[in-house]
C-alpha cells in the first residue's frame, strides 16, 4: 500500500462529514495542508514585518526581497497600470510557492498536485482578467481576437484560432503546475520504492538519484510558482494594455 507511488495523492476526510445542500464540505487532508501553508505564510510575513528596522533581520530581509521580487516582476511584465493588482499576484505567488514547498516535506500532501486546485486558480484568473478587459475597454476588448494586418479572406480562420488560443490559457496554466508537481512527486516516490526493493546491494544508486531529484523538485516548486505568477502578469498585461 505504502509503496504505491500514487497513494500519496489520496484525499481523505478528517473529522466529521459536513454536507450542506448535498455539497460535500468535509474537512480533508487537502484543506488541512492549505491551512498549514496559510499559517506558514502568515507566521513568516508577521515575523518579517514585526519590528521594522533600518538594518533588517533575517525574516525582514527575506520578506522585503520577496516583495521587491514580485514588484519588479509586475512592473517588468505588465507595466505601471498593473500596480493595483500587486496584492492579488503577491498572494497568488506566495500561496502556490508555499503549497509547493510544504508538499516537499516528508509525509505531507501537495495541494497543487490536484488539477481541481490549480484549475480553480486558473479559471479565477481567466474569468477575472476577461471581465477586467471588458470593464476597461468595453467591446473594444474583442479586438484581441482580430490581429491587425490580416487579409479579409483569412480573418475567420485566424479568429477561430485566436479564440481557441485564448480559451487554452487556463488549461495550459493549470495543467502545467499540476503535471509538474504530480510527476515530480510520483518520480520521487518511485525512486524511493527502488531504494527499498534493491536493498543494501544496489539501493544506493536510486538513493543518489532520489537526492538529486529532491533538489530538482525544490527548483521546480519555486519555478512553477514563478511561472504561474508571471503568466498571470502577462494575461493581466493583455487585458490592461490592448495592443494587437
Amino acid at each position: 500500500m505504502a509503496t504505491n507511488p500514487m497513494h500519496q495523492f489520496n484525499v481523505y476526510k478528517i473529522g466529521p462529514e459536513i454536507k450542506i445542500n448535498g455539497i460535500d464540505l468535509s474537512f480533508t487532508n487537502a484543506s488541512l495542508f492549505m491551512l498549514i501553508s496559510g499559517i506558514f505564510i502568515s507566521l513568516f510575513l508577521l515575523l518579517g514585518t514585526k519590528d521594522r528596522k533600518i538594518v533588517p533581520g533575517k525574516f525582514q530581509l527575506i520578506s522585503e526581497m520577496l516583495y521587491n521580487f514580485i514588484s519588479k516582476m509586475i512592473s517588468d511584465t505588465a507595466g505601471k497600470k498593473a500596480k493595483p493588482y500587486f496584492s492579488f499576484i503577491f498572494s497568488l505567488f506566495i500561496f502556490v510557492l508555499f503549497c509547493n514547498m510544504v508538499g516537499m516535506l516528508p509525509y505531507s500532501f501537495t495541494v497543487t498536485s490536484h488539477i481541481i486546485v490549480t484549475l480553480a486558480f486558473a479559471m479565477f484568473i481567466f474569468i477575472g482578467v476577461t471581465i477586467l478587459g471588458f470593464v476597461i475597454h468595453g467591446f473594444k476588448y474583442l479586438k484581441i481576437f482580430v490581429p491587425s494586418g490580416v487579409p479579409m479572406v483569412l480573418l475567420p480562420i485566424i479568429m477561430i484560432i485566436e479564440i481557441i488560443s485564448y480559451l487554452s490559457r487556463p488549461v495550459s496554466l493549470s495543467v502545467r503546475l499540476f503535471a509538474n508537481m504530480m510527476a515530480g512527486h510520483t518520480m520521487l516516490k518511485v525512486f524511493g520504492g527502488f531504494v527499498i526493493s534493491l536493498g543494501l546491494v544496489a539501493g544506493w544508486l536510486p538513493l543518489t538519484f532520489s537526492v538529486a531529484l529532491t533538489g530538482l523538485e525544490i527548483l521546480v516548486a519555486f519555478l512553477q510558482a514563478y511561472v504561474f505568477a508571471i503568466l498571470t502578469c502577462i494575461y493581466l498585461n493583455d487585458a490592461l494594455n490592448l495592443h494587437h
Binding site: 484560432i161 481557441i164 480559451l167 487554452s168 495550459s172 495543467v175 509538474n180 527548483l219
Partner: protein, 95 residues
C-alpha cells in the same frame, strides 16, 4: 593599510566574478527549464481545447466526426501559433 585595500579590491573582483558566472548560469538554467515546460503545455492545451470544442459542437449539431476533425486541426494551428508567440516573447526578453 595597503594590505586591507588590496583585500578589498580582490574581494570585489572575486564577488563580481562569482555573480557573473555561477549565479547567472544557475538562474538561466531555471529560466530555460520553465520555458521548456511552458512551450510544451502551450502546444498540448490548445489542441485539447480545440478538440473539446469540436466534440461539443458535434453533439449539438449531430455532425459526428466532421467538426471534431476540423477543430482538432484549428486547435493544432492555435497550439503552434501559441508556441510561436511565446518564443517571440522569449526572444524579446533576451535582447
Amino acid at each position: 593599510m595597503k594590505k586591507s585595500d588590496d583585500l578589498d579590491t580582490r574581494l570585489k573582483i572575486a564577488k563580481s566574478k562569482l555573480e557573473n558566472s555561477e549565479i547567472k548560469t544557475d538562474r538561466k538554467k531555471g529560466v530555460f527549464l520553465g520555458n521548456a515546460f511552458k512551450l510544451g503545455t502551450e502546444l498540448v492545451a490548445a489542441v485539447a481545447v480545440g478538440s473539446i470544442i469540436g466534440f461539443i459542437l458535434d453533439n449539438w449539431f449531430g455532425t459526428k466526426p466532421l467538426l471534431i476533425i476540423l477543430f482538432f486541426l484549428f486547435g493544432s494551428a492555435a497550439g503552434i501559433y501559441n508556441v510561436i508567440k511565446a518564443a517571440k516573447k522569449m526572444q524579446e526578453n533576451k535582447e
